[in-house]
Symmetry: C2
Subunit: 571 residues, 2 copies
């Protein structure tokens, strides 16, 4: 492609709303442009990168026996009612009506359509296993679209689904996907880790995430550098030193006027935060209240709570708390709570004595609380966030926290969807059984943005060959000069003849302007054709990643560079 | 692919709602499945065919310098208000609200997004020309989705857009597209014609359609077999013999009780239909009434009327007709119409005398009408449908009518969109000018369905190599037989090694069942491996298109068949 004809609108200015490097660089290098909040156009250069990622995904999915298909983005809402996810997705799902007032939605994922296909057109165990995948636009009405293409309202996803006869067969399909995902992310040149993760709205019996290490990531991982334990904080477990056993004490109601937060109460009573009981009230949808107890210095992990309750949850509203406990949040606790309700407590406060809790009366707390004696705890469980410095549950070494971008997520769904939608098969004995399903996603934009997050410098992007939109950037310092132009054109033709994707900067602009654009676009190799070196039959070959240059014979440039690309591409 | 592992749900039954062959065969051969009205899933086999068509389109668009990008399907409605098309598209556009109650739509086409991109990121004449294209799902809320994938509510379209400095440059981009379209449809093996067409909601100064000849088509073409004139009936012109000049007569009001239609009035007055004036009332939106006069045996061409009026039109409601003319439809006419209104008349009634028209009084007509003397016609124009038997405007030969499927449509838009959205460039003299645009579409499903319409027999589809999902169908009559299985597997491996896409029917079903499925799927070549012929070292090679068979050496089958495919693919 000749730059004079290409539509690659580069810009020096950093867009005011772009905080993270990938967002800034994708705008500045002319890869994408926003049309509305969380909605982007992929310009030609950006779309070339996306297509290279898509091709890699397709090859690896085909390699594990995946069959590509394409499911509709417009779905009849009825199939989403069958699984209850029309409700569960809430405002995150785009809904609309057609001209006959029939309710439709834009699919945020495709388990429902898969089950509908399967129940209609899969009959027997002989039709299984199946691996179906598609690479397609998904729609989610994010409350806060942000970080460029990392969190948008329409995005391209590879989603695949396995249909199997039983759990063992599901495990096989799941493992095949893990293998394919490793190949995909490795080929794309990403630094990533695999972590245990929460299944969230997807449900099912287990899941893992493939996470790109990046400060720009919105996910937080808990890692053990000693034994390799790695998990999303959503599910990460840890062990902590139990508190020294305090002496038992009698219950005493004390006035704590104006002290409502853990910090305020600790300061007022001159106790440490960890000696307080943090009391929260949640509603297990639609209306069952649940009280949660944690140590004052710990934070609730909502995902663990949701998994424990097996249902959608939400924090109780202030008026609900008042009605349930007889006091406002900040003064509530497990002791003498009037209404009968389920009380769940984090493992860390089991057997603790002489603690402080709200008295269920505004501006009062109770001291001397003995959990075993005074709190009617129904269940102790791991309900807190693991955090940096906690001990690894596997080896005891201190854990560290790091940010990461979710690239892919693989789920063992089991029969959650097939049961609710009646997707069954006849087994060898003629008996109807629910199809056992898995679901697997990759965010294509996430691959591209994560790569840029991990591979850039002050001057721009640093592509590898796998994702680079072109491999070589030919830079004649003055395209108006006949010798230089002839050399540049000859190189351009030479690369075309060898199917090496090259960009030729044939614009009549200053060399400095060209060099800046070339570093910004970040193609792996630059061939700079200047008057002086060309007079000696040489051109300059610059490697974008190392920023090193060498002079090579102009006549051998095409052959030599093609060889370099072939060699480095297969590393 | 081995059929035992593939998801290709064939069926014998013709779906009850499928009328046309492509619809029936795409369901029966397991290419697609409906999810809802006008919404289809492409199953693996169907999606392979779609991807082959897409690859051909992509190659030819790249060959004319097109740059592929991807624009959002979710659009902010504001840009559609800027061009007035939020109104013009009416119920055909899907609209929705996001969680913040902002209005969005699903893009039915992308001129607005292109103009938004262009006004923000195209500055100078140096940035032009541009050819931008995408291959993407479009959404249109069709009032009557039908004919399988020919008229659906979401479909895949290649749409491209040219941005140019002036009309001459637009002509170049338009001609490049015409060339690319010819290559695409020729390579796909379609029989098609190019016709003049109406620009409709798209607007602009000219357009042409690429039409696949097919009885299943919803479009009607007017063709001259003598000189090659071809046009969609929307715009087709024709000449007709003028009526013999009747003698002038005096106006006379006559009672025509109960006679309202042309047929009824002609019968009642014992006159020929062509001696009557057909009077219609339309509303030029929002509220200007227009009266249209045609010869009684002619039909109004709404598209020609709309083009003449340069605006959206609709037939007047009965109460509007009553209010405007003082009588009901069936008794209205140009003579003595009370209210002042624009009267348009078809060229065919210019200078006609002694005709019959409604009297603008229920149950009365006027005879002796002399158009020049009695009807205050503002404009004579071509307003009627050309029809079979009319004379060609170019050569006078009789025209014929035929049905066809619209494959592609190319438009010279001019500055319609760039002016309304302010998409300008600075010319060489630093002056702001509107970008001159073209717009070009291809319906990918239309290629596939049209091909099937043109290439099928009683047993199934007859693919060519360009679109076939696989080139060869290997049919071991009994896969349980060791010799047969070994031969089948060897062929399968041999084809894989030569990158020939082959389907192996390794299922344990009867030979007859396999043969029926093979003819239904319609791959170009079938290799049948039977016990008897294999004992003599032979396999049977069957050509699906000619239904002819030959015995060939099993050991040479792979080489020979690969050669046949290479030779026939490049014809």
């Amino acid at each position: 492609m000749k730059l004079s004809q290409a539509y690659i609108p580069t810009q020096k200015e950093i867009p005011s709303d772009a905080v993270i490097p990938s967002h800034q660089l994708m705008i500045r290098a002319g890869l994408v442009r926003p049309l509305a909040a969380g909605i982007y156009t992929y310009l030609p250069l950006g779309w070339r990168v996306m297509r290279k990622a898509i091709d890699i995904i397709r090859e690896e999915m085909d390699a594990i026996g995946g069959q590509e298909l394409l499911m509709p983005m417009l779905n009849p809402i009825e199939i989403w009612d069958e699984t209850g996810r029309n409700r569960d997705f809430g405002d995150e799902m785009f809904r609309l009506k057609d001209r006959k007032n029939r309710a439709l939605n834009l699919a945020p994922t495709h388990e429902e359509v898969i089950c509908d296909l399967a129940r209609k057109f899969v009959n027997s165990y002989k039709d299984l296993p199946q691996i179906w995948y598609q690479i397609q636009t998904k729609f989610r009405d994010e409350p806060r679209p942000r970080s460029g293409v990392l969190r948008t309202r329409q995005f391209i996803m590879k989603d695949s689904y396995t249909l199997d006869v039983d759990q063992e067969a599901l495990n096989t399909g799941y493992d095949l996907h893990a293998k394919a995902y490793h190949s995909i992310f490795r080929r794309c040149g990403l630094r990533y880790v695999v972590v245990g993760a929460a299944s969230g709205l997807m449900g099912g019996s287990g899941s893992q995430e493939f996470m790109a290490e990046s400060d720009a990531g919105e996910d937080t991982l808990i890692l053990c550098e000693q034994c390799g334990y790695a998990a999303n904080t959503e599910v990460a477990e840890s062990t902590i030193e139990p508190l020294e056993t305090a002496a038992s004490a009698a219950l005493e109601k004390v006035a704590t006027p104006g002290a409502y937060t853990i910090e305020e109460v600790a300061a007022f009573l001159q106790r440490e935060k960890k000696e307080l009981i943090k009391t929260l009230v949640y509603i297990r949808q639609p209306e069952t209240p649940v009280m949660i107890l944690l140590r004052g210095d710990h934070d609730l992990n909502e995902n663990k709570l949701q998994t424990l309750l097996g249902h959608v949850i939400r924090p109780a509203h202030p008026n609900e708390i008042k009605q349930i406990c007889g006091a406002d949040a900040g003064s509530v606790g497990p002791v003498g709570v009037s209404q009968k309700l389920t009380i769940l407590a984090d493992n860390a406060i089991r057997d603790q004595k002489n603690m402080v809790a709200g008295a269920n009366e505004n501006d009062y707390h109770v001291t001397g609380v003995d959990i075993g004696r005074d709190a009617a705890v129904d269940t102790f469980a791991d309900l807190r966030n693991a955090s940096s410095g906690d001990a690894c549950i596997q080896c005891g070494a201190p854990l560290i926290m790091t940010n990461a971008i979710e690239l892919g997520h693989i789920f063992k769904l089991g029969t959650k969807y097939s049961e609710s939608m009646g997707a069954t098969y006849l087994d060898e004995h003629g008996k109807d059984r629910s199809i056992v399903m898995g679901s697997y996603g990759i965010g294509v934009e996430r691959i591209v943005a994560s790569f840029i997050e991990q591979n850039n410098d002050d001057n721009g992007i640093i592509w590898n060959y796998a994702l680079a939109p072109y491999a070589v950037h030919i830079i004649p310092v003055n395209y108006g000069d006949e010798d230089i132009r002839e050399c540049a054109d000859a190189l351009y033709r030479g690369f075309a003849g060898r199917s090496v994707a090259a960009l030729l900067d044939d614009r009549q602009v200053s060399p400095g302007f060209k060099f800046k654009d070339a570093d910004l676009l970040g193609l792996p190799l630059q061939v700079i054709i200047g008057k002086k070196s060309l007079a000696q039959g040489k051109v300059e070959l610059k490697h974008r990643n190392t920023c090193t240059s060498e002079l090579i014979d102009a006549g051998e440039a095409v052959v030599k560079i093609t060889a370099i690309i072939e060699q480095e591409s297969t590393q």
